[in-house]
């Protein structure tokens, strides 16, 4: 067999469609078996337009004249499968008559794979967005349960090491006659109002560097000096306490239901830790918490009681009134002070 014959056999059998066209006439001079399998037999003087209806001949000629090449894609159904074939035209040079070589590659599988990747990546991206949203919700929930630095520790190490914080100041707030409120008010109203008030307390506390630890029903506990120590911890809680009372007074003036609180400010050390395994919660324990709880019970409605040690730290900036000696948490009697809102004093004087 001659080389020419072998070449022709190869050209016929190859899995790529090949055809030769007159450059000007766009008539078929030659096509191989693969071409015929895909597009039929261009019998007689068939032209490109006979085989590919809707073919943009103008674009082909323009591109062949400018660059000598032109590529496009055609789609057709074979049985019910959508076939996608890439057509690649090359103009031959220095030959008479001029011809264009057409090479056709089956890119159906590539297109199918692209569709599959599109489909899959869309699913994955949607899932990723959902997971991210869920993660943010979980994070938000956990940040409600514990300070951010504790949460970071928990996230990194999976555990939280109990830590001693000293000194810190604790603000304990309790509502007067809450049990009666609960029984008389519609439960959903009680919860809505409490939520409203606690959210405001959170915002006020945040302004002064207090970290809300927890609420137990009508008791609200916030602390300053934790997790980051601050020399201002006593002042932070005192400022927050005064604003809590102001906030409630203003709220009471425009709301049908009145909320009266008692506040105690205690100082000392606390241990902060996550408690529990399944239902974990961040909590603090220690003398400062006990002091604040005790002092709160000494307060008249809308009054703030302050531990002696703390009163000394506050005396420069705040107005305080001695309300006598009392025993706190089994310790010997010591003076207890009432924290006054000096803005009220000023405005009264003014």
């Amino acid at each position: 067999m001659s080389i020419e014959a072998i070449n022709e056999q190869l050209l016929r059998a190859i899995g790529v469609g090949v055809a030769l066209l007159g450059r000007k006439t766009l008539q078929f001079h030659f096509h191989n078996d693969t071409f015929e399998e895909w597009f039929g037999n261009p019998n007689g003087p068939a032209t490109l337009q006979d085989i590919f209806t809707d073919f943009d001949v103008e674009e082909l000629n323009k591109s062949l004249n400018e660059t000598g090449r032109y590529t496009t894609e055609v789609k057709f159904k074979k049985k019910r499968r959508t076939m996608v074939i890439a057509l690649d035209f090359t103009a031959t040079e220095d030959r008479e008559p001029e011809i264009a070589v057409l090479v056709c590659q089956n890119i159906t599988r590539i297109r199918e794979l692209e569709s599959m990747i599109d489909s899959y990546s869309m699913m994955v991206e949607r899932n990723t967005r959902e997971i991210k949203r869920e993660k943010e919700q979980v994070e938000k929930l956990l940040l409600n349960l514990m300070p951010r630095s504790v949460y970071e520790e928990y996230k990194t190490f999976g555990v939280v090491t109990p830590q001693l914080y000293e000194p810190v100041s604790v603000l304990m707030l309790d509502f007067v006659g809450f049990s009666e409120t609960v029984t008389t008010l519609d439960p959903s109203v009680t919860v809505t109002e409490l939520n409203d008030i606690y959210s405001s307390f959170d915002r006020i506390g945040e302004q002064f560097g207090c970290e809300r630890i927890k609420t137990i029903g009508d008791a609200y506990i916030t602390v300053a000096g934790l997790p980051d120590p601050t020399p201002d911890h006593a002042r932070a809680t005192a400022n927050a306490a005064i604003r809590f009372v102001r906030y409630l007074e203003r709220r009471n003036a425009s709301h049908p239901h009145q909320w009266q609180c008692r506040i105690g400010l205690g100082t000392g050390s606390v241990v902060g830790s996550v408690v529990g395994i399944q239902k974990y919660v961040y909590d603090i324990f220690g003398p400062a918490v006990n002091h604040a709880t005790m002092l709160q019970s000494f307060s008249d409605p809308m009054q703030i009681s302050v531990q002696d040690e703390m009163a000394r730290a506050l005396s420069e900036q705040f107005e305080l009134e001695n309300i006598g000696e009392k025993s706190i948490s089994g310790m010997p009697d010591q003076p207890v002070w009432r924290l006054l809102d000096n803005r009220k004093g000023i405005s009264a004087a003014g």
């Binding site: 049985k79 019910r80 499968r81 959508t82 599988r109 794979l113 599959m116 599109d118 899959y120 699913m123």
Partner: protein, 119 residues
């Protein structure tokens, strides 16, 4: 018992993609089920098969019962069509090295949805 889905067990998307393409080829060639896809655009068909196989194997897609019913409404799908699809799926999974017990799990999963698909 491990919590791995079949999707994970058989190597995730890189392996499952081969199952999807084989399934797609066989479906198109099938004279019983193929005609349902005569007028369906290729990318939609591939999208559908990708999601179908992924959700069947516990991958990152899931069709709700309502969606399944909606997709197959008014298509006149008979029990014979459904059985043929199951046979195609069984063969495809087996050809891709799925263990018989896992093929059974997948077949049970689609059998549970027969009512939603057959008219």
């Amino acid at each position: 018992m491990s919590d791995k889905t079949l999707f994970e067990k058989y190597g995730g998307f890189s392996s499952v993609s081969k199952v999807v393409l084989a399934f797609y080829d066989t479906l198109l060639d099938s004279d019983e089920i193929g005609p349902f896809f005569d007028d369906i655009d290729m990318s939609r068909m591939v999208d559908h098969q990708t999601k179908f196989i992924s959700s069947l194997l516990g991958g990152p897609a899931s069709y709700s019962d309502v969606q399944l019913r909606q997709f197959h409404r008014n298509l006149d799908i008979t029990n014979a069509h459904f059985d043929e699809l199951k046979a195609v799926l069984e063969e495809t999974l087996a050809n891709h090295g799925f263990e018989p017990a896992d093929v059974r799990i997948a077949l049970e999963a689609i059998e549970a949805r027969r009512e939603l698909i057959v008219d």
